[in-house]
Each structure stands twice: as C-alpha cells, then as structure tokens.
Assembly symmetry: C3
Homo-oligomer: 213 residues x 3
Amino acid sequence: MLPVEYLTMAGMAGSAAFAITAVFAAPRGMDLFGISVLAVIAAIGGGTIRDLILDVPVFWSLDLSVIWVALIAGLIATYARRLLSRKEAVALVLYIDGLGASLFSIQAVHKVWDLQFGLPMAPVLLGVVTGIGGGILRDVLTQRPTLLVSRELYAIPILLGCALYSGVLSWAPEHAENAAIAFVALIFLMRSAAITWNIEVPRWLTTGDQLPS
Amino acid sequence: MLPVEYLTMAGMAGSAAFAITAVFAAPRGMDLFGISVLAVIAAIGGGTIRDLILDVPVFWSLDLSVIWVALIAGLIATYARRLLSRKEAVALVLYIDGLGASLFSIQAVHKVWDLQFGLPMAPVLLGVVTGIGGGILRDVLTQRPTLLVSRELYAIPILLGCALYSGVLSWAPEHAENAAIAFVALIFLMRSAAITWNIEVPRWLTTGDQLPS
Amino acid sequence: MLPVEYLTMAGMAGSAAFAITAVFAAPRGMDLFGISVLAVIAAIGGGTIRDLILDVPVFWSLDLSVIWVALIAGLIATYARRLLSRKEAVALVLYIDGLGASLFSIQAVHKVWDLQFGLPMAPVLLGVVTGIGGGILRDVLTQRPTLLVSRELYAIPILLGCALYSGVLSWAPEHAENAAIAFVALIFLMRSAAITWNIEVPRWLTTGDQLPS
C-alpha cells in the first residue's frame, strides 16, 4: 500500500473507534437509532465544529465514507457488546480511539494552517476541538461528565502535540511532514501510556478544592 | 385556501407545538425569559443546525414569523398551563408536535437534495437533525435525558420517512411530490400511534445491558 | 486615552471576567487544560454562535487577543483561587462579568443591524445569544443548571437593553451612539443591582408549578 492508503485506513479505524466509544457511553435501554446518531456525532462532531468555524464545507459532505464507517461500527458494537465488554476489547478500542484523536487533531492543525486562519493560535485551538469535540458532544447528549471535567489524561497530550506542531509550522515549515508523523506518534504514545498504566493528570495541574460558585 | 397556504399553516402549528413542548420541559420556577428562549430554541434549533451545516442563510433570518409564533405560543402556554396540564391538551400538543416534526424533516430532505449536498446520505441525516435537533437542544439546556436516550418511538419514524423519501428522490424523482405527502403522513401516523397506544421501541432494537464505560 | 481605547479595555476586562466565571464553575479536581478550554469557551462562545449564524468570520479569528486574555485570566484565577474565594473578589468578578455582558450584547445588536440581518428581531435575539451564550455553554459542559433555568436576574436586563437599542436603531438612528452608551449603562446598572441586593426574577414572571412532561 502507498503511505496515503495507510493514512486513510488509520483514519477509518479512528472513526470506527470514536463511534464505538459512543456505544460504550450509551445508557442502558437506549435504542439502535439513538446509538447510531450518537456514534455518528462522536465520529464527526469535532471536525464538523471545526469546519463550521472555518466556514469551509463540512468534511463529511465531500466524502460520506466516515458516516458509513461510524454507522457500521456502531451497529456491530451494539450487537457484539458481550464480546466488546471483555477487558482486552475495551482496551483495544481505547488505543485505536487514541490513535484517531492523534491523527485527526494533527491533520486539523495542518488544515487550519493551510487556510491561514487565525495564526498561530486558531490551529492549536481547532486541533484540540477536532480531537475532543465529538467525545464532548457524546457525553453532553448522554448526560455524562465530559472529559473536560475528568482527570483522565486525554486532552493534554493532544494540546501538547498540536502546540508543538504549530510551532514547527511557524518556525521550521520545511520539517512539517516529519513533524506531523512525530507528533501523531507522541500524542498516541502519551495516550497509550495513560491507558496502560491508568495515568491521571498530576494533582498540581488540577483545582484542589471547589471554588465558590 | 391554496395548498401552499395549508402547508404554511401546518408549519406554523408545528412550530407552535415545538415551542409549547419547551414550556412542558421547563423546570419549576423557570422565568418567562428563560422559557421564551427555550421555546424559540426548540422551534428553530434543528433547522438552524441544518442551515449552518449547509452553509446557507438560516431559514428564520429570511422570515421571522416562526420566531413570533414560538414566542407567542410559549407565552400563552406559560400562563394557560392549568388548561394545558389537562390530559387531552397535552395529547393534542404532542400530536401537533408530531405533525411538525414530520413536515419539517421531509421538507429538510427536499432542501438538502435540491442543494445536491452530500447525496444520498446527508439529506437523511439533516432531515433527522431538523426534526429532532430543537428537542435535543431543549433537553440539554434543561438537563433532561434527551430523546436519544429514551425508548419513546419518536426519531425512528422520522428516520424511516426521510430514508424512504431520499430513496424516491434518488430512483423515482418524478414521484417526489406525492411521495413527500405520503411520507409526512407515514411519519405522522407512526408517531400518532406511538402517542395513542404508548408504543415504545421494541426491545430487540435496544441495548439490553449497560456497556462498560 | 481615546474613547475607543476605553472600550477595548472594557471589552478585555469583560472577557477576563467571563473566563474567571468558568474557573468558579469548574468542579473539584478539574485539570488546568479543562479549565483553560472552559475559560476560552465562556469568553468567546456567545460571539462565536452569533458569527456562525451571521455567516461572517468568527470575531476571534481576526484578533486573537481575546483568547490570550481568557487563557491568562483563567490561569491566574486557578492559582489565585484562595484570594478569589474572598467574597469581595467574587463580587468584583460578577460586576465586571455584568459589564462585559452589557457591552458585548449591545455591540452585537449593532453588528447584526449593520449587516441588515433579520431585522428587526435577529439583532435582539443575537444580542442576547452573545451576552449569555458563553455562560450557557460553560454550564452545559460542567453539568450545572444553566442560567436559563435559574431565577437569577441576568438575562432579562440584557433582553431589555437589546430590545430598546434595537428600537432606537429602527426609529431614531440618529441617536444610536448615545443610546448605545445609555443601554450598556442600563443593563450594567440592573445587573449590578441584582448582584448587590440579590434580586431575583419576580414570581409572577415565573412558572409556579412544574408542568406535565
């Protein structure tokens, strides 16, 4: 296969993993329609918000395959849930979800940079939105605490990777291609480490006590 | 009256019903301002998301009457709530809400198809978004479980009608007009049956047990 | 300083206050990344929704300073929270938050009117969205009851000011400039009175009992 085909396959796997996390998040008794909608929103939500803000055609309107992938992954996951509830299967989905988030957020930084939109900050911001937006919509729609309020190490690696890649695009654009691969790998490795060893955000980076509200 | 005038009237009635469901959903003690905003969001939310994704002017910016209808319906429903809490009145609002959802989602399929946007899947997706988006925003803003997670038979008839109408537009566009009427009726009848006999989504279409999260 | 510089400074202060309310709303244990995202969303959320609906470039893509202000204010507030939990400090932030909401909503009415978008109602609607949208997103993302369902006197002054300013732009545009200043002051004073004397929305403007749902 050509490199671009590996990339497409990784993107498909990532979208499928995003969709399957929606099945994990679905509360008891949710019907197949609701799960399908949730799976599609988890898979395309982040990129859709990004494209609306960029005022470019939403990415899935030009190539509907991501929606098919999300629907089919959601459907299979719903009926194969006994299989998927095995610890190894859950972990596998989380790793692929991490790969998807790495890939999509670095791709988003690249897309925003190409459009010269709000440099140098908007690429980082919209990279993060692309990586975590679908998951946040999924959690809001199922009334779960969003990952913004959890201490899981999920978004910080994405922020770090997007910021570093944005720096390379700014100061050393000739290394952009290698940097993209390196930062996708960096985000994925940090996320994998967090899944494997159950690493949380260090306490000094959190609010200790609740603030007055 | 001309047919188009019946259509406009049905649309107005549907928007009013959407707005009144916001009054039903309002928690105790909510003020008139909050209810008005909620009523407007319930009435125009789905179509607004659709138009943002289509990148066309939001429908209500071209004709503000839907906002007036939503505001007035919300206001009347707030102060006539003793009347509206009668079982027959609630049922009537639910039936008209079902009619509105049928009409708006089939109209949305038509609109998306006309724009040749993401055929053949985006029309179905955005038809569903138009039919249920306002209700989902209403539920998120009042911290109620959204209809995505309930087993009420609401969204599945809409999905079915939109998919069938999309099929007709694809393979037999010469029958589009009759099909539109037929599928609005189909969605409305399925939804009415669900309201009348309290039909839920069949169990084999739901997740039996909660999945690992 | 020139008047326009005062305006810029007031806008910066308002954005910082919006961001700090996100720190107040953050639940215990939230990490710095989540707080930063929340602070940025609280600061730019309302104006972003407005600009998406208007189909104009989102305001912060043209001048990123508001995002820096939100990030820095959120960061300082997180680590200075012991200081900020003092009653006087909380009140000060609330007053500046009220000033920001006044300023941004009246500016939004002006912007929408200039674009001749959905006159005369859309300017009022989008003025309110600009003033309260960021706060609503903040509350949805942290699973707090949104201000739409609370009885705090927050949104009604904004609605009143936007409606009056819209009236002046309609019938006496030659007084627009003075009216803008007057209505920013009006909203701010009403909001300040509500903070100072803990004024709630009068009972006759609220739903007494919960409605059937």
